[in-house]
Symmetry: C2
Subunit: 344 residues, 2 copies
């Protein structure tokens, strides 16, 4: 560990107290408050010395001469990595999460929608969920439904209950019989494989097939990227925007606008959530670490959930000044419950 992070006992304690207090009040914290809150009898003057040290190491800073100190991003990082005493979620919250998530749902999308809502509600921050990648999902059934003379709907159902539908242009008229022949052939050839596998091998698998409508089979081969890739579909759910926009860090209307744009644009957020997916742990991204402009003063707590062979991510976004201990346990527990629900 770099030298700047080698803190002695008092420095650790002071930094922890400072951040805890700042998280609660959103006001710069002075030496007096720390000295009185910090039970080991030590005077404000002593604390001031410690504060000066911490500032030298870049862990805290002063908004201006003679205000209290405020944690820097580096400070938060150290706090999250080494100072945080992980906190068990209250029974109340655990039950609430479980109860709200355990409802009848009509589609997997609905569960993730609901999950975002639950995250937002329990955390009073922004809840975010993304659908899993289709890449590794196992195809259960493929179906074709004629819609108009020139358009046909492709329905792709994969294990665990996802369905994707899309319209494709077809050249020729196809009668009912050869249509169902084609559907049967397709199902025989590709069911039970992952979408990724299908994409890579469909040409070979359909090669030399004699029955079924050749036009349609050709269509599948030609448009395999469009049909079997999910980059186009909307995969993110956010909930609780109103929770966080009233917070201090959005007082500047320009920042607010930038953030709302970010939410609407979706792409960067999806990228953030999908990108920071450690295999099984929780990932905390603080402020500019995300390299996303609109998240300058915000942090994200992210964890993956499992569904069948594949996985997606959920998370909470809020001001860097967030209750990390609590939010980490919220995300952790929610991801666990979600994985359970989806694997039934």
């Amino acid at each position: 560990m770099a030298k700047q992070f080698e803190l002695n006992e008092r420095e650790r304690a002071v930094l922890a107290v400072l951040i805890d207090h700042y998280i609660r009040t959103a006001e710069p914290v002075g030496s007096r408050v720390i000295a009185t809150k910090f039970n080991l009898g030590v005077s404000p003057a002593t604390v001031r010395n410690t504060l000066a040290d911490l500032e030298d190491r870049g862990l805290i800073e002063q908004p201006h001469t003679s205000a209290g100190r405020v944690p820097t991003e580096v400070g938060y990082r150290l706090y999250v990595d080494h100072l945080l005493k992980s906190e068990r979620l209250s029974k109340n919250d655990r039950e609430k999460i479980k109860r709200l998530l355990t409802v009848d749902y009509g589609a997997v999308e609905d569960v993730l929608d609901q999950t975002a809502r639950v995250l937002a509600q329990v955390s009073s921050q922004l809840g975010v969920t993304v659908l899993p990648k289709f890449e590794n999902a196992i195809l259960t059934k493929i179906d074709l439904v004629p819609v108009t003379d020139t358009k046909m709907m492709v329905i792709i159902a994969v294990k665990s209950g996802f369905v994707r539908t899309l319209l494709v242009e077809v050249e020729a008229q196809v009668d009912q019989n050869s249509l169902s022949d084609t559907v049967q052939i397709l199902n025989e050839k590709v069911c039970g494989l992952s979408l990724g596998e299908i994409r890579n091998t469909i040409r070979e698998r359909l090669h030399g097939v004699s029955n079924g409508e050749p036009q349609l089979l050709k269509l599948f081969i030609d448009q395999k990227e469009t049909i079997l890739d999910d980059t186009s579909s909307p995969t993110i759910h956010t909930e609780g925007t109103s929770n966080i926009i009233s917070q201090k860090e959005f007082q500047d209307p320009e920042k607010l606008r930038e953030f709302i744009s970010l939410l609407e644009e979706r792409k960067s957020l999806v990228h953030l959530l999908k990108g920071s997916s450690l295999p099984d742990g929780i990932s905390v991204t603080i402020g500019t670490e995300s390299n996303i402009g609109g998240l300058r003063d915000l942090s994200a707590v992210i964890k993956t959930y499992k569904i069948g062979q594949t996985h997606g991510s959920i998370g909470i976004i809020g001001p860097t000044r967030m209750e990390y201990a609590k939010l980490i346990s919220v995300v952790d527990y929610t991801a666990k419950v979600l994985s359970e629900i989806l694997s039934r």
Copy 2:
């Protein structure tokens, strides 16, 4: 028409000029500005008299003694209903709308998503679109896909390319053969009917059917509300939130929060758009006319579009101080183009 709306030539002109100017500047308008902008040579003093009259009738008001005048809701109403010279959309905008909407799409939802984006972009306000009611949509095909031991996916495809999918709980194991029998029976019995008709008559239609899995048929009868009603699914698309939150009327953070909540909650908005659907005209809802708290200082311009036998609505939401003439023609033209695209 009520007496308060019987305006003479000058009063009409003054009100029109005042509103035009206020829309542009967002500042209270004084007599001097009106007098100079208003070409017929007449002095500020005269205008002041007219303004006093208009104020007596409740069409305009002063934020405080000795500020200029600002239109009231009633004033806007009169302006929209009687003073507005309808404006043909610029060729530029028409082409832009047509071009942006005429793209390949993989689902009807995508078109409406894109439409909301186009509305937002051309108007610099909030674009809103809602999916049509399924009630009158004609069923093209119904399909069943087993997902897990106890869950089955119902796929409902209706004319014009919509698909709805939902998961239902099934009691018994169903083998492949009786499943496809059941699907065939269902399709024979209900294809070509509207979802509403099906909901009302499915019991009779399936009565006395001998082949097919009786458990499944029973399920359809018992759960017809869930399966055939669309109130649960997300039917609204909004785009361009960042366009309007930086405007003057959202300076008060509490108002902003209320508005964002409104957008997230969706329900009131859907209700507003579906509710104000005149058969073929444009509907303009000004401020509190909507009876929705979060829209206190906002107006909505709404029009329906057609798709097959049914219809949905699109609209623009922005400050009451909006360019009604332009936005009306934007919504009008966009709805027309959208109907064309969807009927292909």
